[in-house]
Amino acid sequence: MGNITKNKLLICSAIFMFINLYLIFMWVPTEANQGAIQRILYIHVPVSQISMLAIILVAVSSVLFLWKRNEFWDKLAIASAEIGLIYGTIMLLSGILWAKPVWGVWWTGEAKLTTALILYLIYVSYIMFRNYFPTGSQGQRIAAIIAIIGALDTPLIYFAANLWSEAHPPIVLGPASENDSSFSSSEMRMVWLFSTITFMIFFVYLLRVRYKLQDTISKYLINT
């Protein structure tokens, strides 16, 4: 049953990815100021959003595990953290490769970029902690605190461009977005939405695969 759902998710991801590539490269209009490089937005923004959602999922799962003592939440937290790290890596790389041709530099020390880097380091520290520190209730509590700090960083990342107006474009989505957004056409907004759904489906697929692995590891540890 689990494998069938997993395969369905993989097939669904594949179909969505192909359509997504077509929309990004062939359908959506080229942005007037930045040219072709602006197409990075359709990956950069969705992976950044999912990376931020993943750390919130880690924090909520960790708290629920400490409260309910159900192993499901602990496994979910570890799986979500690892995939959040993968999405976070792509978020940073896409930002760097977008910044160079548009701003002329690979990286700047501005607020949005710095808070995003902090989130990435929180992911790294969470995973290092889970892998290299002893397990047990104290370790799980400390891991939960790291995840909560990461979750607290997400509103800072979201509002950073508006709070400290610098080179990064202002918020284009959500309650704090400005009307004069980066999406100058409805096609651009539609492709962003489709790309977000695509990467969300792929996230769920990866989460299931990673969760199953964590489940197998737990069973192996119990047997030995």
Partner: protein
């Protein structure tokens, strides 16, 4: 094992599609480059309502080119303060003329994409190099898919190793 085969097919498909799309964009960029010109603004013509009608640019060889604007002409110009002004002729018919006059005074180079006698877009010179950005775009998509590909293979391999270890322990 079956999943790995499916994934290999999936990623080969994505790489092929990506290469095709990038090469088609590159072709479009080359086609567009024939209709692209860079230079400084040497004349701006506005009507009695102070709305931009026409402008002239001079390229590095001293050749003059005149372009008319229509409601769909797009603008992406940097102001002297460093802020970016983005609009269309339809939205800001008066302001577009003012911005071009400012550029003329500052000798700020611009890139024009044109179709016949009409300008389709007027942007800052440095950001008009569409074809130069493609290497960054291609690198990014390539890196993204390599990361996903390697990660899924790593998960699959680790799953297999642990499952076989578990079976070994159970048999023992």
């Amino acid at each position: 094992m079956m999943i790995n085969k499916k994934l290999t097919i999936l990623f080969i498909g994505i790489f092929s599609l990506l290469s095709f799309f990038i090469s088609s964009i590159e072709t479009n960029a080359q086609e567009n480059s024939d209709k692209r010109i860079s230079g400084i603004i040497t004349m701006v013509l506005v009507d009695e309502m102070n709305e931009l009608v026409e402008f002239q640019i001079t390229d590095s060889n001293g050749n003059d080119y005149k372009y008319k604007v229509n409601s769909s002409t797009e603008f992406g110009l940097d102001e002297s303060s460093g802020d970016r002004w983005v609009s269309t002729q339809k939205k800001s018919p008066k302001e577009s003329g003012i911005k071009l006059i400012e550029h003329q005074k500052r000798y700020a180079p611009v890139t024009i994409i044109y179709d016949g006698e009409y300008a389709k877009s007027v942007v800052e010179r440095e950001e008009g190099k569409l074809e130069n950005n493609l290497s960054y775009l291609f690198s990014f998509f390539l890196i993204t898919w390599i990361i996903f590909f390697l990660y899924i293979f790593y998960l699959g391999k680790k799953q297999k190793v642990i499952e076989s270890s578990t079976n070994f322990v159970n048999v023992k």
